[in-house]
Amino acid sequence: MLTKLDLSGQLSYITGGSRGIGRACMETLAEAGSDIAFCSTTDQLRLDDVATEIEQKYSVACLGIQCDVREPEQVKLAYKRVNKRFGRLDVLVNNAGVMQTALLAMTSFESMREMMDINVNGALLNLQLASRLMARKQRGSIINISSIVGRVGSEGQVAYAASKAAILGATASAAKELAPMGIRVNAIAPGFIDTDLLMGFDAEAKKSVLKTIKMSRIGQPQDVANAALFLASDLSSYVTGEIIGVDGGMLV
């Protein structure tokens, strides 16, 4: 059974991989033996340092690419680099995203546009290009990182919730379209996870959210990465079009 978790010889590409959930996914997939490519807007020198760190820690190859997912040319170039270096793509963790919180009436159009550009258009472009590389080998697993608010909404997050709901629609549609090519597409909908995105929440707000979590703890990036490993591996070889909630029971 454990051999099904072995990703040796595979290549996983993680967008927004330098920190938070992306970083946890990157380390977890590397620990399972996968070579890693990741992108981030962080400066290239820092990305090279992270890549070296991953290579030394897990004895896998790792390539860091500076890329803004809002820029189609940069995204295309990133896939060209991935293809040139590794010649394959087995797993995409489509994670790059931003969250801006404001009441609907106070949400600027710029903020709406930024979240749509990064969380939706950037994710769609990665989905498109990754699936084309995967189609060459007639196999692959795409893991879209959505959010619990894309399923049930949240006050003060209308635009963010809209962007994350869009990812769920894209996941279902792409799963149908790409299944004949051996490509699985699933989504993870994290709940309240301890990342930089929570910096905007004050102690009172955190306490209030904590009351809605049946498991009575804030999730860790590793909780999401564990689900990503399942979806990346052959343990989920007959799973596509699904949304896995990693939320400690917020929806129960």
């Binding site: 295309k76 896939y79 293809n83 498109q128 084309r132 189609a135 060459r136």
Partner: protein, 80 residues
Amino acid sequence: MEFDENKLRAVFAEALGIPEADVVPTLEYNTIPQWDSLAHMRLIAEIEDAFDIMIDSDDLIDMSSFAISIDIVRKYVDEA
């Protein structure tokens, strides 16, 4: 890598499941049941793999006949 029209013809034949003799310049997308949208994606994947190129989405959409595909694939191979 040099562009090789015969190689492209062979890829078309293999991806679409038709004889190489049927892969003529006038062969067009959606004019035979074997070249539908799903087959087009399979075809593009096999062309990219065979010639070690990555075709932009706009060109992918433009590749609506074997004749046009020759020009487009040749462009990528020459640029590589």
